[in-house]
């Protein structure tokens, strides 16, 4: 169950160890260290798995921690034109997450996008001889579960700091928000917006009501005066 991109790296390491060793027991040692650690990996904790491997843990397949509650924390997207670099970095990311205690899903391969250009070979005429060029964008997705948002932020920052050249990463994070967050966001947004239209309408309405009341008061006074006049007359 070695990661595909690190199979050759593991064999290279073994050969290098055997080549450089001077003792008479290198073959046995390398053979024992090359054997995959005690299965089953799923039931071991990260610490126990790490303890079972003496050298070259980062070269082996990462230990995927089991989900504790099934609450999504983040989705990490990786894109690159070079699939081997991409797989290597995703392998590195899985190890990093395992070390931080973040349960991560296995990497999923999204469909590869292919951009094709057909171009005339010569600078002038000769339409019948053309050449095809393409650019393939490989994509991988990995989901993080259950971890504290600060830990997820740490993981993302660490990966951004040590990103492999040629790989692009995008992180979509989820976090818990307190009740009433929508209303607060709306209020803060309205505070920044130009609300001239609303303010004007309200002002007009208030003015209208004021006028109505004034008119009513004036009418009442007039009616009272008339009543007095009529009474007097």
């Amino acid at each position: 169950m070695l990661a595909r991109s690190c199979r050759s790296a593991a064999s290279t390491l073994q050969r290098w160890a055997r080549f450089n060793s001077t003792t008479a027991v290198p073959a046995a040692a390398s053979a024992s260290s090359s054997a995959t650690p005690v299965a089953p990996q799923q039931q071991l904790t990260e610490a126990a798995y790490a303890a079972s491997v003496v050298h070259g843990r980062s070269v082996r397949a990462p230990h995927y921690l089991p989900k504790t509650h099934g609450i999504p924390a983040a989705t990490l997207h990786f894109r690159s034109y070079h699939p081997r670099v991409l797989d290597f970095f995703v392998h590195f990311a899985s190890h990093a997450a395992s070390a931080l205690g973040v349960p991560l899903s296995k990497p999923v391969h999204l469909p590869t996008q292919r951009r094709l250009w057909t171009v005339l070979r010569g600078p002038f005429v000769h339409k019948k001889s053309q050449e095809n060029f393409e650019r393939r964008t490989h994509k991988r997705v990995v989901k993080a579960w259950d971890a504290h948002p600060d830990v997820v932020d740490m993981l993302v920052q660490y990966l951004e700091k040590h990103i492999a050249p040629g790989v692009g990463m995008r992180a979509v994070k989820w976090h818990r928000a307190p009740v009433g967050v929508g209303q607060k966001t709306m209020e803060s947004v309205l505070g920044h917006m130009r609300v001239d239209e609303q303010v004007r309408a309200e002002k007009v309405k208030a003015l209208g009501e004021q006028i109505v009341q004034q008119e009513l008061a004036a009418a009442a006074e007039a009616a009272a005066k008339e009543g007095v006049v009529q009474k007097s007359s």
């Binding site: 034109y81 250009w117 171009v119 600078p123 095809n132 060029f133 393409e134 040629g166």
Partner: protein, 100 residues
């Protein structure tokens, strides 16, 4: 020293950038159905006085290496032959000869 046509294109881009708001305002007035015909006509006459280096249709994407006006691939800003030269020299990231 870039191509004469490239220089003309640069001039057009600067002109369009400087006059875009003015042109749009006149165009709005000239195309507005609710305004009186006299005003619209005047606006259209004003629009006609603008020179060719203020019209957005004068702007053309040219090859950044050779200045060729045709066969330009927008993603790289190169004409088809330059694109092929650079792609074969591995100067374009991720681009390789297609084979399937």
């Amino acid at each position: 020293m870039p191509n004469a046509r490239v220089l003309r294109d640069i001039k057009a881009r600067h002109g369009v950038n400087a006059n875009e708001i003015l042109r749009r305002a006149y165009l709005y007035v000239a195309r507005n159905q609710t305004l009186p015909a006299q005003v619209r006509f005047q606006a259209q006459l004003q629009l006609n006085t603008f020179g060719r280096y203020t019209r957005p249709s004068t702007v053309k994407n040219r090859c950044t290496e050779t200045g060729r006006g045709r066969g330009v691939i927008s993603e790289f800003g190169l004409c088809r032959f330059q694109f092929r030269q650079k792609a074969l020299a591995n100067e374009l990231p991720g681009v390789k000869k297609a084979s399937w």
